[in-house]
Symmetry: C2
Amino acid sequence: MRETDFVSGFAKGLKVIEAFGETRQRLTIAEASKLTALDRATVRRSLLTLSELGYAVYDGKFFTLTPKILRLGHAYLAATPLPTIIQPHLDQLAERAGQNASASVLDGTEVVYIARASQRRVMSINLTPGSRLPAFCASMGRVLLAALPESEARSVLERTDLKANTPNTKIDPEELMAEFRRVRGQGYAVIDQELEIGLCSIAVPVENDRGQTVAAINIGAPAAYVPGSDMAERFLPLLKETQKALRLVLP
Amino acid sequence: MRETDFVSGFAKGLKVIEAFGETRQRLTIAEASKLTALDRATVRRSLLTLSELGYAVYDGKFFTLTPKILRLGHAYLAATPLPTIIQPHLDQLAERAGQNASASVLDGTEVVYIARASQRRVMSINLTPGSRLPAFCASMGRVLLAALPESEARSVLERTDLKANTPNTKIDPEELMAEFRRVRGQGYAVIDQELEIGLCSIAVPVENDRGQTVAAINIGAPAAYVPGSDMAERFLPLLKETQKALRLVLP
DNA sequence: GACATTTGTTCATATATCGCACAAAATGGC
DNA sequence: GCCATTTTGTGCGATATATGAACAAATGTC
């Protein structure tokens, strides 16, 4: 790609939008400038452009994103068949399990939720399509990383900030690589309070008819209700069933 | 705002992203150019910029958005307190009603889903945060339009393409304005298969402690299961309860 | 209330982008 | 396989944007 094939004004504008995700919903020009490391004048122009287009509003001091900004992410969710195909299966899965079910794909070192059916609230954080979690300590992340060639999985770990969320979090790269091999062998991953105390989850890969892993689905449950050791027994049959159904409908 | 405070390259890039939402997930340069009415060279530069940043991938022929694009919409969902505050209440509401519950805000002539708790699948379309429906024929839309000054509600209707989705869809502006007054008076709106045959829904406004309507929540149910005439009796108490709880926690 | 600091805005100018026109490549129909 | 059509890539002049400094306004501090 040539230098002139890059629209830096566009790239900077996108950076400004993402700056809103990192903190609160209101940003001053100076705050956005700090967060993005862009010149105040440049940030100001980007923000005024967003306002002009209705993606943000400006009260003279603070800029706030409007719901119109959701059109951008929705361009992906609506256009990509995966979330649309998976959602009904997820709804059914969550209903039968009586617990939350989610689907995600890998984006760099993180898993990105693309669909979710919530039955009850067990996590302290609010997960919606677009939410991100570190892959190494999430059940779906383990499944997705296990599906990668070992060298790539290792590369992801190297780029990850391996910090422990709970005393249970595995953060040793070698231990994690061994875990990926186990997951690959058994076809599922169980997380026992590695992400958040009190939360267990189990995930399986979603494969297309050529056997390629294109996503992961999981079920989360309160550890007090279903101990980590019981997760597979309780939920694996349901997950396997959904996995099988999806294999038949995915392109 | 001065002319030079507008970054047209940014605006054009956003238009290109939205072009993906209108059709399928893969777009060629020429297709994107047609959809956006932008010059091919311009679209090409925008798409290459998206690829360079990891928001899209290019196989030499087609451009496809990646999950990274969800960061943009998520910047709103994560940064705006509303969806985060509403979600757990919605989960509880859906569980108690045994039906899908959603929350939305108004954006122009459309309602935009900002949170959703699904219990079962009744609609043919897949609704996720960011999904949009015409406000005039959706229960939450009726509630949100009823909360506007009459002149503004009328202005929205004038800008709306009032086309009937089903034989039940009300499309006469005067009839709709009368409906808004009724909704304002009774404090809820019921839709009986106006959006989709077989689907009924009931919505109430979500108000903050100053009485301002900041969103709407609804419950949807299959018409075969709960006729439109029974919606209020069945679900209004639950909705009112959630409404009341939200009034106490919203800023 | 005066000073110091931060923030928002404006301006001139160097620089990068835009859209056009053309060339090259790919596609499709027969 | 060939031609017509569509699509993609590129060079260039006109035009628009980014930059950083300078100034004005607001905010915070003592």
